[in-house]
């Protein structure tokens, strides 16, 4: 029986790696992947707590998150594709149209 704390530590590490990658990486696709990593870290905590408390609602939440993440991946990849088509780059530092 693996203690719940281990799952949580793993989740925290995954989440931190996600944040670090999100902040450091310049490629949009890498950033996108780091978002997925953070989402899955959260999913892991949900599952861990659901197991600990013997509650099924945590696992159902994970399914919701997966559905949303899939939809988000579809939309996000479409946006990335159109950005690449118009600007021939995926470097976020160069995608600064909103800069005042």
């Amino acid at each position: 029986m693996v203690p719940t704390a281990y799952y949580l530590i793993l989740a925290a590490m995954l989440f931190s790696i996600g944040i670090a990658a999100f902040l450091i990486k310049r490629n949009v696709i890498t950033i996108f992947i780091s978002i997925e990593l953070m989402l899955n870290a959260v999913n892991l905590t949900f599952v861990a707590f659901a197991h600990m408390w013997h509650q099924v609602s945590g696992q159902i939440f994970v399914f919701f998150v997966m559905v949303v993440a899939a939809a988000e991946a579809a939309v996000g990849l479409a946006i990335i594709l159109s950005i690449f088509r118009t600007r021939q780059t995926l470097n976020v530092d160069e995608i600064d149209l909103m800069k005042s």
Partner: protein, 660 residues
């Protein structure tokens, strides 16, 4: 005749106000004839009402009863705990005389103005202001409390400002209007303070309440607060009535049209200060200090202004200084307790000074706007009616019997001589000297304008021959001339076989005052006759000197001025009073304004705070704008920091706030 219902009293001021509203709103689109008719109609009706009021009073027999007959209950104006004031009018003998002057002379001057202002631009504006003035002046004399009097007081000041600056395109006229307004503000400041003191000490501003309270407390004689109130009121009166030290606005006020000078700056508004002092005689009688101040201011102003008037060349300025001087006479009368004599002089002065101004206007009209007496002369035959009417005015003001001015001036001199005031001989001498000067400068004006060779500039009048004025201007002149001749006969003293009607008429008003009353009965008629003879001799002396200087040997005056250059310069420059005020008050004030107020306050505090708030906003904007970098990773960083902060609050917050 039925007595006039008291409620009709409201129409005396409100009718001219209606005229003001009509001419003020529609006048621009109305033809000239209609504007003039409206103005005349709405001043004729109040005059008729006042005539009715007089008949009511005469029918009632004993004049002392009118005060109770006509006293309309006021509409409540201000009602708070501990103080209340009404829109209340009261009528007594003093008010009756003032009303007669204001509506009667006012109406005559309105008639004259229709002729005089006929060619001017913006006649509607002129008549609207003039009617507004009649409204405020009626309010001033009818008011039953200080506050309502103050409303009229300020209102006539406003109309004075508007009418002096009537030719507002002329810088000098606009400046003169401002000067009059600002100098009057100084006086009004004193009036306001006096009212505050009255409220503090009496809890009321009603004439009846205040004066009966003073009458009921004989121990208040010489009380310091009464002296303070009286002196502050004197400051107000000095501003309005152009007395030292606030007289400087009146000569400049001659920039206004001549009918305005006649109505506002000779006959009515400037006498408001005298009226106010007479109205408050109970207050002033309780304060000998204030009375002495009034007498000294009056005598000094009379002498001072008369001496300046002797060397002026502008016909209207001579009359302006003469007005200041005569107002000084009225102040002198009030200061020695001879209020009835002061009001008598106010009445006769209203007649002859209005006449003199209107006649001067007629002369100016005849010469197409020339005001310099050096360019007049020989007008006797060219404008005969103006000449004869003006002669009546000149003889009246010079104090030649039996013209009106003689009786009132003589009464004042006599009362000054016999007054118990320790300074009475000095005051009397000042008055006598003034009488001589008055006679001199008036006959100087008379000779220079109407006698001798015509000195009219031929080029200036090439296209416009010298002409007598139309009948609409001459009619008021003739009526006023009649009053200037005969107006004094209502006050022939007992020594000359009269019964001094005006003094008796005003008796009930001033019964509890009149410091000189006791002396009058003890001194015989011999003294009065001797004093009258002296003043007539002085007046004739003035006439003779003027005759020698300006008729017999025309070069004498210039030669005399040449020989006494410093003295002549001093007087000719009006004792450098304007320059003195400029250097001592206006320049330091301007320096303070520009140096301290503008640099420190305006630029430092006002502009500074505005700029500080602007740059604070800009700085904040700069800070927040830095967040909108367009860099996704920086957004994400902020997001992470924010999320971390939320978590930190959720985790540690409870324990933190739990302690607070």
């Amino acid at each position: 005749m039925n007595p006039m219902p008291a409620s009709y009293l409201w129409f005396i001021p409100l009718l001219p106000f209606a005229g003001f509203l009509i001419n003020g709103t529609l006048g621009r689109r109305l033809p000239r004839a209609v504007v003039g008719t409206v103005a005349l109609f709405f001043t004729a009706l109040p005059a008729a009402l006042v005539a009715w009021l007089w008949m009511t009073m005469c029918a009632a027999g004993a004049p002392s009863s009118i005060e109770s007959v006509i006293r309309p209950s006021g509409y409540e104006w201000i009602a708070i705990t501990g103080f209340h004031a009404d829109f209340a009018f009261s009528v007594d003998h003093l008010t009756m005389i003032m009303l007669a002057v204001v509506t009667g002379v006012g109406f005559l001057i309105h008639i004259y103005s229709v002729g005089y202002m006929g060619h001017e631009e913006g006649t509607w504006r002129f008549f609207a202001y003039l009617n507004l003035f009649m409204f405020f002046m009626s309010v001033l004399v009818l008011a039953a409390n200080f506050l309502l009097l103050f409303v009229g007081w300020e209102g006539v000041g406003l109309c004075s400002y508007l009418l002096i600056g009537f030719y507002f395109k002329k810088t000098s006229a606009a400046n003169a209007g401002k000067k009059a307004f600002i100098v009057n503000r100084i006086g009004d400041f004193g009036f306001l303070l006096a009212m505050f003191l009255l409220i503090a000490h009496f809890g009321s501003l009603g004439f009846t309440q205040v004066f009966s309270a003073i009458a009921q407390h004989p121990e208040w004689q010489d009380a310091q607060f009464l002296t303070a109130i009286a002196l502050l009121l004197v400051l107000g009166a000095a501003g309005k009535s152009a007395q030292i030290p606030l007289y400087i606005w009146l000569p400049d006020a001659m920039e206004g049209p001549t009918p305005v000078s006649a109505l506002i700056h000779a006959a009515t508004m400037v006498t408001a200060g005298v009226y106010m002092v007479a109205r408050c005689h109970v207050l002033f009688n309780s304060s000998p200090v204030a009375l002495t101040v009034v007498a000294c201011i009056g005598a000094a102003t009379a002498l001072f202004a008369a001496s300046i008037g002797m060397v002026q060349h502008d016909i209207k300025r001579v009359l302006a200084y003469s007005t200041i001087s005569q107002l000084g006479y009225m102040f002198l009368a009030c200061g020695v307790g001879a209020y009835a004599a002061g009001i008598f002089h106010l009445l006769t002065h209203a007649f002859f000074k209005a006449l003199l101004f209107l006649a001067a206007g007629s002369v100016i009209h005849a010469l197409s706007g020339e005001q310099d007496m050096r360019k007049m002369g020989g007008l006797r035959t060219r404008t005969p009616i103006t000449f004869w009417t003006m002669s009546a005015g000149v003889f009246a003001i010079a104090g030649i019997p039996p013209f009106a001015g003689f009786f009132s001036k003589d009464e004042i001199l006599y009362r000054t001589f016999t007054s118990p005031n320790p300074l009475h001989i000095v005051l009397w001498l000042a008055g006598l000297l003034t009488a001589g000067m008055t006679s001199f400068y008036m006959f100087r004006l008379w000779f220079k304008t109407f006698f001798g060779e015509p000195r009219v500039d031929p080029h200036a009048n090439a296209h416009h021959s010298i002409h007598e004025s139309p009948w609409i201007m001459l009619l008021p002149l003739c009526i006023l001339a009649l009053f200037s001749v005969a107006g004094g006969w209502i006050g022939i003293p007992a020594a000359l076989g009269g019964n001094n009607g005006i003094e008796r008429f005003l008796g009930p008003v001033f019964a509890n005052g009149a410091a000189g009353e006791a002396v009058v009965s003890t001194s015989g008629h011999g003294l009065e006759l001797a004093l009258a003879a002296i003043s007539v001799l002085v007046a004739l002396g003035g006439f003779y000197i003027a005759y020698v200087f300006y008729c017999e040997k025309p070069g004498t005056a210039a030669a005399l001025a040449e020989r006494h250059q410093p003295a002549y310069n001093l007087v000719n420059h009006k004792y450098w009073v304007d320059e003195f005020y400029n250097a001592s008050l206006i320049t330091p004030l301007l320096m303070f304004t520009r140096g301290v107020l503008e640099l420190v306050f305006e630029r430092g505090v006002v502009n500074g705070s505005a700029r500080a708030s602007a740059s604070a906003t800009r700085g904040l904007a700069w800070l927040t704008r830095k967040q909108i970098s367009g860099n996704i990773r920086s957004y994400a960083g902020w997001l992470a920091i924010g999320a971390a902060a939320v978590i930190a609050v959720m985790v540690f917050g409870n324990s933190l706030w739990g302690h607070l």
